[in-house]
Assembly symmetry: C2
Homo-oligomer: 501 residues x 2
């Protein structure tokens, strides 16, 4: 690892392995994949590899190990934390899994699909639909996000309340490890106690322990009936009470419970001129509830939801409510919810935080944190919206009107983020509920993470990727010089990435 | 690690740390904990430590690390694979968690309990009941099994179909690591993507990576209505069709789906003279279905189950069926199910296998494996019973009448087990579905496990417990001499354990 890798020899060998379709250094072809989804990071790469099979990935990783070439795996390049963007050194190989997008097997009776890592989420939805089933996880980037990326970041979304994050839906995994060996555990066993759960270790590891090449995923029965209810509530505390009520009254039919403050709805209505407020009058907070049922439960769903909402009215948990009468009304409600993030962005520069605290503390946290930030940074506006049912909100702090965006984000914005992260940590929460760490949050994780947990991350990284070639500079840094004696030397110093926006 | 630890100095320091209640070398007090639950392994120990707090565990583990003393953690000593029994060397400290049995917190609204590792499962059931809630995992050893042991072995049981194994119920963990540092992650976050899931890594690690001292566990609504249905079916293939039908018709109300062959029911009726067969006539296979509902769903449960069974009759999926009319009838059905293992044991010497294959292949596996074993080993009887809904059965092979038990188990029994494990592996299954590896199955895991997965287990073990002091000789052995260069030396050679029965 001390010698500079022989890039020419490596590229020649990689080209021989993958062919012209599988490897390119053409700047026009590579450039689109060097900047992350949110435009915050831009890096450079030695080349873009697009292997067509697991065997090619394994051979390529072995080649990289032999030549000491770092690898940055990439799916749809729609991550939120720069986890799939290489650093500025230009020494890393960008490894795209997008060509590997086949369905290997779909078992309708067992409700399972085995597909390759490059399969795009929306295509996975279509494949499940075509079989009369459903893959329940969904999120804004579904048109580009891939199965491999979703697993590597343990992605969430709006249906987690019922169906869990990606971790809960992964039944089996196939991954290429740092030395090119193949970890093959696609066969789904409901029970298997043969040692540490290696599948769980790979989920959410952001490509730092292995490169996921395929997965077996759970499918669920198709939705036969869906009801969305838009509710107005006087406070986020009451929203929390309403959540408890709905959990009790709806049980597993409760699939989503999303909140937004008055200001966020106003921003959406300004952003979408054709949209209309679901309810008359002004209300401090809004809740979007989704209840679903499969064919067996379809008939009972509407009466159950109506009864639950009648009880909620009686208990003064809602000020007003509108039920979706059909699919297009339900879609219209969800369009409002899904437009909060772009509408808030349209208001001006902002710093965004994807945070969680224990579910029962989130209402208190919002009531505490938003005024605290607005008091500490005069002129800003703090809004929290999202997945109250998961104890996870997106906490956006919008710059005072008229400031210059980049300078504000790099200056006061960073101070604000630090204070938000300090508060979240003090409340026992997570500075990354669903977006992962990538390169964006690595510094804050190192600053605020439990030192015992951080040491475990480093030891595991060191054990599974001793040369530090898998997605370097993301999620976990190798132990620094001066670390524990007797362990192998850490990877080479990494060129810092250049924020591009 | 090369020098023999100074045991006298260690014991003096440990006594000073824990006091006379916390440490004993009295053979009368230590002996009961040196033989495993099934009486297959007996070891020796330096002393029995019973710390009273997490701080004491941490200090004790540091002391062990300083003196190079191996540690065997133990909960209720009710494991099935000798995972909590020390080896024969007498050099290890037996560390009992049983004194640490406090409830730290129970949050009724959030449906959670935080308790110490030594809490006995039955007491956990009582604590949940007292709060109007329920801890859904249960198993035969509930009167002695502890929370720490259940987590360390990712225990299963009869309610896994609905509620999952222990892994699915653990929301947070506190554990002491090999160097005495404290991994503290008890705060339950529904979403947290700050790196590898260390909690998942510790679950099922059988005390080889850390010693669990406390956990936060999920509770579920109390059962308001329960219906058990005893069904007769003509074959295990039809039982599988009935399972699919019930999953479809009952959805989340389906909580258990257990099978047993005619021979097992006959054995139970011989073993329990007061018991009666639930159905008249002879039937090849029996299925015990359990459906439950909380208060919200209680009224709808019986009509739903009756409708489902009517449809099953119409589709010729059941030959006959009996519904429990009340709790005592439901209990009587479950007593029959829970007595299969002791009834089979009463028939004579047997070798037992806790195996899984993909759920949809289990019927085929049973139809293939039982005749294959009976043909290969004339005179034996192979029976499979248990959790068809989890793809997990207990596959018992009973010795021919009149053989001498120990000699048969050590001779033909081992050959039979090897053949069963070979078949399970060839079918993509697990040689340990829910009991873990411990020392009983370590050799078979090393023989049949995927070498890539085994190498990962060893590397992780080496990274987190470089001195090899945590439960040595269980689940994963340190890499042998001649392993990879540059890695630290593996632990000392371990004295083999002496099978005692």
């Amino acid at each position: 690892m001390s010698a500079e890798p022989d890039r020419t020899a490596f590229l020649a060998a990689a080209t021989a392995l993958l062919g012209p379709r599988g490897l390119t250094s053409d700047p026009d072809l590579v450039a689109p994949w060097l900047t992350d989804w949110r435009g915050r990071f831009t890096g450079r790469a030695l080349a873009l590899a697009s292997p067509g099979s697991t065997a090619e990935v394994a051979a390529l990783v072995r080649l990289c190990a032999d030549h000491g070439v770092p690898i940055v795996p990439q799916g749809g390049n729609s991550g939120m934390c720069g986890g799939a963007t290489p650093d500025a050194s230009g020494g890393a190989l960008l490894l795209s899994l997008r060509r590997m997008d086949a369905v290997r097997q779909l078992d309708r009776e067992a409700r399972r699909i085995t597909c390759e890592a490059g399969m795009i989420l929306e295509n996975l939805h279509h494949a499940a639909d075509a079989a009369g089933l459903r893959f329940p996880l969904t999120l804004g980037g579904k048109g580009s996000a891939t199965v491999g990326g979703l697993i590597s970041t343990n992605a969430g979304g709006t249906q987690v309340l019922r169906h869990g994050s990606m971790r809960a839906l992964v039944l089996g995994i196939e991954a290429v490890l740092a030395d090119g060996s193949l970890f093959s555990a696609l066969t789904p066993l409901k029970k298997d106690n043969r040692g540490f759960d290696l599948k769980q270790l790979l989920i959410g590891s952001e490509g730092t322990l292995g490169i996921i090449t395929a997965a077996t995923l759970a499918l669920v029965p198709a939705v036969a009936e869906r009801i969305a209810v838009w509710c107005a509530v006087p406070s986020v505390q009451v929203a929390r009470q309403l959540l408890l009520h709905c959990e009790q009254a709806l049980g597993p039919a409760l699939e989503g419970f999303e909140i937004m403050p008055h200001a966020s709805l106003a921003a959406v209505l300004a952003y979408l001129p054709a949209a209309r407020a679901p309810l008359a009058g002004d209300h401090a907070w809004h809740v979007l509830i989704e209840a679903t049922a499969d064919a067996a439960g379809a008939a009972a769903l509407r009466p159950t939801v109506e009864e639950a909402m009648t009880a909620a009215f009686a208990a003064r948990l809602v000020e007003d409510a509108a039920f979706s009468a059909n699919e297009s009304q339900a879609e219209a409600f969800w369009t409002l919810r899904d437009s909060v993030a772009p509408a808030e962005r349209a208001k001006g520069p902002a710093v965004q935080h994807d945070i969680s605290v224990p579910v029962e503390r989130m209402a208190d946290f919002i009531d505490h944190a938003a005024p605290a930030i607005e008091a500490a940074f005069p002129g800003v506006e703090a809004v929290a919206f999202g997945h109250l049912g998961d104890g996870n909100v997106h906490f956006h702090v919008i710059a005072p009107p008229g400031v210059e965006g980049v300078a504000w984000q790099e200056g006061p914005g960073k101070k604000i983020s630090a204070q938000v992260n300090d508060m979240v940590t003090a409340w026992g929460g997570s500075i990354s509920a669903e977006h992962g760490i990538g390169q964006l949050k690595l510094g804050e994780l190192e600053r605020l993470g439990d030192p015992v947990a951080l040491a475990l991350l480093r030891r595991i990284k060191q054990a599974l990727d001793p040369k530090g070639l898998l997605n370097p500079g993301k999620l976990v840094r190798a132990e620094r010089a001066g670390g524990r004696a007797g362990e192998a030397a850490s990877g080479p110093g990494l060129a810092p990435n250049s924020p591009s926006a």
